[in-house]
Symmetry: C2
Subunit: 351 residues, 2 copies
């Protein structure tokens, strides 16, 4: 058995792979499969509507929010956020929790003044100036292995979040956000698609002068179809949404993810300091378990030996080092168990 612990692109549910093989490239009576049809055709409209409804149901989407299915990755939103939500010269706040929050702030700074905001150990924001266009957080830091224990209060300033790596892994209080975004290749499907959920009143902020494809307002007005959307990626996303619903929805995902992460964190905590995590207990990510080994030679040996027993893509992010196990929705408990057992064995042999 081989297990793929990649942080994203990441494992898809087995049932979705099976369904994809059967359905994606099978033509209908019109001589076309979904990816071969005009995006204005009734079958594709149905697919898009189904994907949106299924996602809204999974999230319990409150009234007054719009779901956008956009081409490309989350990184494009690093630019679209300030272009749409902040006036020229208006500052935006960013909380610097780790690698991806820094990337978001760096790109944000290309467009608007940015302010670094400080968070307390328990995830409270110490000061949110009222003049900020928005306050940006990264709910789960894929590279650093940490997650906000609670959503911070931001008063009248809209909370904006990159939720890429924990989207759909647990229930989410969408009504706490002004906007959230997630690229697909972790828990939604394959790379090339990004989901944006935006509170409708914020759409009015998009300047009239923005290019159509960069304007949340115009993308929402066109129901994400200013041009052909990434149809194949959206079709796969709909299959993933169906799969999550069939598994019991987001509460079931959260319970399963907690159990898997606990197995691996137990292996860390039981290692007597052989595996070390820099993340405070409250901030441990439930989906990206990161830790350091005593030295880089042992880290390298761990990665290589793990591969020989079928545990793949465990190398940490290049900027962070160590090892990282991503345990998103599609990873079965058996994968987490196999990893935890190997970690215990490895620590006994080299600790």
């Amino acid at each position: 058995m081989a297990w793929n612990f990649a942080a994203g692109p990441a494992r898809l549910p087995d049932a979705v792979l099976l369904r994809a093989r059967e359905e994606l490239f099978t033509r209908g009576d019109d001589g076309a499969c979904q990816s071969e049809r005009p995006f204005s055709s009734p079958p594709f409209r149905s697919l898009r509507q189904h994907a949106g409804q299924q996602l809204a149901e999974l999230l319990g989407l409150p009234a007054g929010y719009r779901i956008l299915f956009l081409a490309g990755g989350a990184m494009q939103q690093f630019s679209l956020l300030p272009m749409n939500l902040a006036r020229p010269g208006q500052p935006a706040g960013y909380v610097q929790t780790g690698y991806w929050a820094r990337r978001a702030m760096q790109e944000g700074a290309v467009h608007r003044p940015v302010r670094a905001l400080a968070a307390s150990d328990c995830g409270m924001l110490l000061d949110v100036p009222n003049d900020l266009a928005y306050c940006h957080i990264t709910t789960n830091e894929t590279a650093d292995g940490l997650a906000w224990p609670n959503l911070p209060e931001t008063g009248t300033v809209p909370l904006v979040a990159d939720v890429t790596s924990d989207f759909l892994t647990a229930p989410l209080a969408v009504d706490r956000f002004g906007l959230l975004y997630a690229s697909a290749q972790k828990n939604i499907g394959v790379a090339g698609l990004t989901v944006v959920i935006v509170r409708e009143d914020l759409l009015e902020r998009s300047p009239q002068t923005l290019p159509a494809l960069f304007s949340y307002r115009r993308l929402a007005e066109a129901d994400s179809c200013i041009n052909t959307p990434p149809m194949l990626a959206l079709q796969l996303a709909a299959m993933v949404f169906d799969w999550i619903a069939g598994q019991g929805g987001l509460p079931a995902m959260a319970a399963s993810n907690r159990r898997k992460a606990a197995l691996v964190y137990q292996a860390i905590d039981a290692s007597g300091g052989f595996y070390r995590t820099r993340v405070a207990a409250d901030w441990r990510s439930p989906v990206n378990v990161c830790c350091q080994l005593p030295d880089t030679a042992l880290t390298e040996r761990f990665v290589v030996e793990a591969e020989t027993v079928g545990l793949h893509y465990l190398r940490g992010h290049p900027q962070i080092g160590g090892i990282r196990a991503s345990l998103y929705n599609a990873m079965p408990a058996a994968g987490a168990s196999a990893l935890a057992a190997f970690m215990g064995d490895f620590a006994r042999r080299y600790g």
Copy 2:
């Protein structure tokens, strides 16, 4: 038998559909299929390199050009072109041949001054001022059914082209262009991927201040991988490139496309004016055959009756009306024959 004449998303080669079903969602020894792997993994690097090499060979790519595989559609390039290639305030020239050329110019005007350039009946440009950042053409107008008979001379001003709908349908003199771009859903694969081919000296024009994902220079420096590229769409593109190579490359595609288009244009020309095309003979598109019927009621009847005999997605672009048959690489001659026969029959019955 059902035939799909959609203008894009469009029919994929049968052999590619078969291969996609077998390969795309089958996991390897690492427990992952290509879409589940890190984009930095050796298997995905190999795929990207293979796709680039295969495409370069098909085109006979000259030295000094770079191929970029970007997320999203061609429309995003409508903005990236002026953002990268024109200095603030520097005008760019656009030739207004039809619907898509107008869209490109409209979006270009959001960023820079634009100048409409006039072309002669034989496709010569009457005047290309030296101060233009570039001269933009749409080599094949998908909605209008026309194609440039020859590439225009633009002197020292780089020729930039939207080649979305005729890319890979015939040999292309890449060395005549400063930059060309094509979204994938007509002749490359599925929506969500755009190929950009750029002359290296033009990369130096990208301003330092551009966001990374909007900068051709930075995208080229990162070999299109600033973030995760649309891997599944790229994998399909590689399959299409392999298929074209196996069919005999671009000369074989061109010969086959000419024969298919001739069948349908003959049906138009033999109809005694029942089908009318507004396009001059030299400018007829070899891949999107467009024509008008005597009235909209007959057009509607044509579309509905055609569907009953398995000929689908023949309605013209909403802005143009009439009917349109797209006969890209993946359409077999049998499809064009079936359409031509139906057109003849329909004209006899209603003409």
